[in-house]
């Protein structure tokens, strides 16, 4: 056990999970928390409520495709959507460093306003703190969100043959942040994919029996989400390497940086595990939605002697996709 909290504990990989289990789960034990979903879901009167929270520390706070405010709304709204809930109300807390430019704060908040309008949610309560210069790096935002699960969606047991879908190109947010943080002087067709997943709620409603589970692959990327799914089942995962959608510019930048897009954060994508027989129908419905037009089936769960995630390429080569142990990636969300 580490005596001090290190940056690696915030990476979203193995060390983060360990810290959460050893300190937070150990002390805050209850069935909702230990369900380990992106949101907690519980009955309140006649309604099935989902409730989630997230904090945002991204650097830089303004990046190609968005800013910390956009992330703060999308991140929390999306966690509700992947729990099957229709997002309704958000809270937000700001901790601001003394000397932060007012213009920047206004821009961030205006973006949050616009995202809330798009998502049809309201920020109904909030808090503001200002701290001394040097005690915080510019700004930190927390958002919590509440939604109602109207469809009655709940997670289902994963079976062999279940297909894995992703709603668009991977690794775009993480890569965009990395380019900024490593001061790479490149121009190209890349930007954060930060976006709302609310348009996909109609698919969740329509196919709630067929969708076994869903997640948005933020910190740690698609690979980390797939490992989380695999922990809940006896089956391993076989991915189809050439089907994994990666924009050419994202592929190129990751090659330069020596990173793998499978581990880079997405902030506007959904990973779904779908019953084999319904996978094509779910695929077509997602593709009919503008923000889901690049949805692909990228793999499936399968019976294996040694449970693992591997990716098979077109000429028969295979590689293991291990769990993210550590990374030196900059903060991305």
């Amino acid at each position: 056990m580490d005596e001090i909290i290190k940056l690696i504990h915030g990476d979203g990989g193995k060390h983060t999970s360990q810290l959460i289990e050893e300190i937070f789960y150990k002390n805050f034990q209850n069935k909702y928390l230990l369900d380990q979903g992106d949101a907690a879901t519980f009955q309140l009167g006649n309604e099935l409520i989902s409730y989630t929270t997230d904090s945002f520390v991204v650097k830089p706070i303004f990046f190609r495709g968005g800013n910390i405010g956009k992330l703060a709304v999308c991140g929390t709204v999306n966690d509700l959507v992947v729990s099957g809930a229709t997002p309704l109300y958000l809270s937000t807390g700001f901790i601001i460093e003394e000397g932060f430019e007012r213009k920047k704060l206004e821009k961030i908040v205006e973006t949050m306003r616009d995202m809330c309008t798009q998502a049809n949610v309201s920020i109904v309560t909030g808090d503001t703190k200002v701290v001394e210069k040097g005690s915080l790096d510019e700004i930190v935002i927390n958002t919590s969100g509440v939604g109602v699960n109207y469809s009655g969606y709940k997670k289902n047991k994963i079976d062999a043959g279940d297909k894995i879908l992703i709603t668009g190109g991977i690794g775009e947010h993480g890569t965009t942040i990395a380019v900024d943080r490593y001061h790479m002087k490149i121009s190209g067709d890349y930007q954060s994919d930060c976006a709302l997943l609310t348009p996909f709620l109609s698919v969740v409603n329509e196919y709630k029996e067929a969708i076994k589970c869903m997640r948005d692959p933020t910190r740690g990327g698609v690979a980390t989400v797939l490992h989380e799914f695999m922990k809940t089942t006896e089956y391993g995962i076989c991915l189809y390497e050439e089907e994994i959608p990666i924009k050419p510019s994202i592929r190129a930048v990751n090659k330069l940086l020596g990173f793998d897009p499978l581990y880079m954060a997405c902030e506007g994508r959904m990973v779904l595990v779908v019953k084999r027989e319904e996978a094509d129908k779910v695929l077509r419905m997602l593709q009919s939605i503008e923000s889901g037009k690049d949805t692909c089936i990228i793999g499936e769960f399968a019976q294996m002697e040694d449970k693992m995630i591997y990716s098979r390429n077109s000429f028969g080569g295979k590689r293991i996709i291990p769990e993210l142990v550590s990374s030196i990636l900059p903060r991305i969300c």
Binding site: H183, F315, G317, R319, I320
Partner: protein, 366 residues
């Protein structure tokens, strides 16, 4: 000649090869990564046995170098700058990442040219760049040193840990036990030093060589051509002509020769190799961190007793890194691999860096 084969066709041809298993080595971290990432090593067995040589400059950086870099982090008003993959490599006890977590000023740069911007922006601080790499990296380090002098920057220096490929290859091939019949020559190094730099392997040692790129098709093609010409002793071909010319990048070579001369180098897990290092020439000595900070010259022409003992220690612990680095063994031959030695608890250099053979094997091996 002239017909473009698909990967499956080349693999099929390799599988139809007669005779004993053909041992081929590659000496480039990017080739090691490509082979593992595409699962090529498994696909060409048993006709081809692929070995990974000392192509990871971070893996072969001595513990001494890391320890001295760690000492430098403790000096007041110093910023240590480095390539990212150096952070996790352990010296005798600790690594630079652990120093960073303690609050020392260590910054990851993508290019050494950024160290110049940093030096300009922090005139009250001393900036040191940890210059590790092969001939691929040496020209850009030389360029950074020249630029620093042109701009009359006096608060920037470079701690040189660069290595030369040719003396290391000679060291491997001079060992009569090596068993290597073919070499995939490192495409990036070759793009700098030229095709002619590698011809010695066929002319002097009768070993076949192919210069190759890094896509899956490039690597399979390299193996295909080597296996096709298995009977020809000393076959040599440049399959990366889009990047590699016969003479190499003259401008880059001139830069290297202007700023550096050669010296002996200590390679982790292997020992001293004559002429395998780079040393800043007298004209640019102001930018040599080992002189500026009076670090004991780490490329000394002898191993200390401590280091000899350490190499023995490693052997006693049954770590076979030195054999793996020299292509005599594979990661799975090591009794510690995957058990006592994993990426989280590495014992030897091959597991320490992300580009090391054992680390890559562990990451990808099915």
């Amino acid at each position: 000649m002239g017909k473009y084969l698909r990967i499956e066709e080349m693999l099929s041809s390799i599988h139809n090869m007669d005779g004993d298993s053909y041992t081929i080595m590659e000496v480039c971290g990017s080739h090691t990564e490509a082979i593992k990432k595409y699962g090529i090593g498994e696909l060409v067995k048993p006709q081809i046995r692929l070995l990974s040589g000392p192509g990871c400059p971070v893996c072969v950086t001595s513990e001494d170098y890391i320890d001295k870099a760690i000492e430098l982090t403790k000096v007041k008003d110093i910023i240590i700058t480095t390539f990212g993959d150096m952070l996790r490599v352990k010296g005798r006890k600790e690594n630079l990442l652990e120093q960073k977590e303690k609050g020392r000023d260590i910054r990851v740069l993508y290019t050494p040219i950024d160290a110049i911007d940093l030096a300009r922006a922090h005139m009250n601080k001393e900036i040191i760049f940890l210059a590790v790499g092969f001939e691929t990296t040496a020209p850009i380090i030389a360029l950074a040193i020249k630029k620093a002098r042109q701009e009359k920057l006096h608060n920037l220096s470079f701690y040189i840990g660069l290595k030369r490929m040719k003396p290391i290859l000679r060291y491997i091939f001079n060992d009569s036990d090596h068993g290597i019949k073919g070499l995939i020559c490192p495409g990036h190094v070759a793009s700098v030093v030229g095709e002619h730099y590698f011809e010695f392997i066929s002319k002097e040692y009768g070993i076949s060589g192919v210069i190759a790129g890094f896509e899956s098709k490039d690597v399979v093609q390299a193996l295909y051509y080597l296996s096709l010409n298995k009977e020809k002793s000393g076959y040599f071909n440049n399959l990366y002509r889009q990047c590699v010319s016969y003479q190499g990048n003259q401008k880059a070579i001139e830069l290297m020769e202007e700023v550096f001369d050669d010296c002996d180098a200590k390679l982790r897990g292997i020992g001293i190799i004559e002429g395998a290092g780079f040393h800043i020439q007298k004209e640019y000595v102001e930018y040599d961190a080992s002189v500026r900070y009076q670090l004991e010259e780490h490329n000394v022409n002898k191993m200390t007793d401590k280091e000899i003992n350490k190499c023995q220690d490693i052997k006693r612990n049954k770590c076979v890194c030195s054999d793996i680095l020299l292509g005599k063994s594979e990661p799975k031959d090591c009794p510690l691999y995957g058990g006592k030695c994993t990426p989280e608890h590495p014992v030897g250099p091959c597991m320490i860096s992300g580009e090391g053979s054992c680390a890559i094997s562990y990451k990808y091996l099915v």
